[in-house]
Symmetry: C2
Subunit: 338 residues, 2 copies
Amino acid sequence: MPVGVSLKDIAKHAGVSLATVSNVVNGYRPVGEETRVRVQRAIDELGYSPNLSARHLRNGRTGIIALAIPELNNPYFAEVAGAAIREAGTHGYTLLLDYTDSDRQKELLLIEGIRERVIDGLILSPVQLGRADVLARRSDKPLVLIGESVYDVPHDHIAIDNVAASHVAVQHLVSLGRHRIAFIGAHPDVHRQPAHLRLRGYQEALSSAGLSFDPALVAVTAQFGRQDGLTGMRELLKLSEPPEAVFAYNDLIAIGAIRAIHEANLRVPQDVAVIGFDDIEDGRFATPSLTTISPDKESIGQLAVRSLIARVEGKHVSEPADIQTPFRLVTRESTIGR
Amino acid sequence: MPVGVSLKDIAKHAGVSLATVSNVVNGYRPVGEETRVRVQRAIDELGYSPNLSARHLRNGRTGIIALAIPELNNPYFAEVAGAAIREAGTHGYTLLLDYTDSDRQKELLLIEGIRERVIDGLILSPVQLGRADVLARRSDKPLVLIGESVYDVPHDHIAIDNVAASHVAVQHLVSLGRHRIAFIGAHPDVHRQPAHLRLRGYQEALSSAGLSFDPALVAVTAQFGRQDGLTGMRELLKLSEPPEAVFAYNDLIAIGAIRAIHEANLRVPQDVAVIGFDDIEDGRFATPSLTTISPDKESIGQLAVRSLIARVEGKHVSEPADIQTPFRLVTRESTIGR
DNA sequence: ATGAAAGCGCTAACAA
DNA sequence: TTGTTAGCGCTTTCAT
């Protein structure tokens, strides 16, 4: 069942040994210039590419790393994934994109290594997992975490400073002169260790602006999609004293909220100002366009891949790090009109 | 570097040969009941799971199939990809998601087998590739095509009937009493063999409605994103006699177009009615919500994966087929107001 | 019904 | 600098 060109074919064609060809391909030890050229030509002519299964069988690595995001069709994750795929490619790795549907079982399966035998390591953006889950993990494949959740676990973690970013977002709404500021997108579940960071930033910002925290203005959502924003906002608009501004957990929720506000025949931002989080393209083209917190998605993807590969290759012997990436406030029509 | 339990470990533990353990695991040939129980117990006790690389080295397959889409953060493709990943999983395959950025070189690399040794087969949604490119391909890994382009090439192809769907879309605009109907999103490149199907459906629908075709009402775009819709619509609005309705190549273009219409202080649908194509979630939550052609994305993903796996496993010896999947018109605010 | 052994393609230890 | 070879874990042919 030999279906391709193997090292042996190249060796024969170039009149050298297997080891030499391997060294031309991998560069583990020096090869004479003349030999290298000859081998390289044979490789080009016959169209050789290494058999990964064989390589893996031999050295225990597959050259494949996985990235598991909660949902494929959340543009935020799509952008992070795009950056990660590019970065993996530049290091000679293939990135396997997977998704968890924000499902606890799937997240558990992944960290326990459902693909254990296929991948060299995993980057996970957990939603439901708790600190205990991560600590209880038995797999010895490297794991890098991205996203809001910080678990204080022995793994690299890449994220923006969610508390600070949320603070900036709410501060922006305050600066508009709004006082009743709502938050949509609190987590309903109890697995998360540290309190919900964006909610905490919201509370801190209110507090430093001298505004009181009203639990009625916090809308809990099951998921983090447009539909959840729509539902959440509808609830808030039923209040006897509805909010004048909304900080949404992410842009999708914000877009759903805007839709609900329009349904109620109110205007954005005149009646209700809305700010999101993620800076996805949808928000830039929405009507009105969406003010948001813009995280550096490119560097999140890049750093996650780099950290993981460093662990996989055992070069990176440093302590697990908590790496913070930059963010900025982008003001658009949903808060400042036009 | 042995990192797990191997067949040999089980064999020793159960006091049988390697072959017997393999047969308990795979069931290629019968095993005595007593032996089977003993081996199974050893497997459970030691926690054996097969080393995929070894298995694949042996039988020439990796258990990984690839799906290459033009862009990750087009929700249409994200949904198709989600369906494909699920379907692959149910067949015991892992799906590797890749993207081409609608770049001709990347598409060529993929069909020529840049990942040749990693995957058992490829599903591709081509944008730039022409019939000749596909015919010239040398790789012998199975290839399944999805999407608008039909090349009359020897590969399975899954898509909706684009001409018919476009006809329905334009017919809907005609039924609203609009006469100047524009099309945004024509392909600028020359590689595509059959003329652009959606454009053809547009022309046919105009013709059967007794409307004349005005080339000035066709906006060519470089890509198929929101920005392209925005730019294209701006051009159309500069016409001395701007359109009363727009058929966009896809929902993203439609959303960009709506943005441009709003910028010009015109209303959708009163001044310009807009219909898209794909039925992505963005359109359902846009303001106004978007009328669109809704293809059955789930079945596109499923059928593509099933066809490919059938080819990979050599079961499916039938002729390459052109499989059409269902679609329907979904009317929303962008054409019928509210 | 079961076992022994070859060999898939590759890397690395050992030799030269 | 280059060659030889063992062996990673598995499936499968040939023997028993």
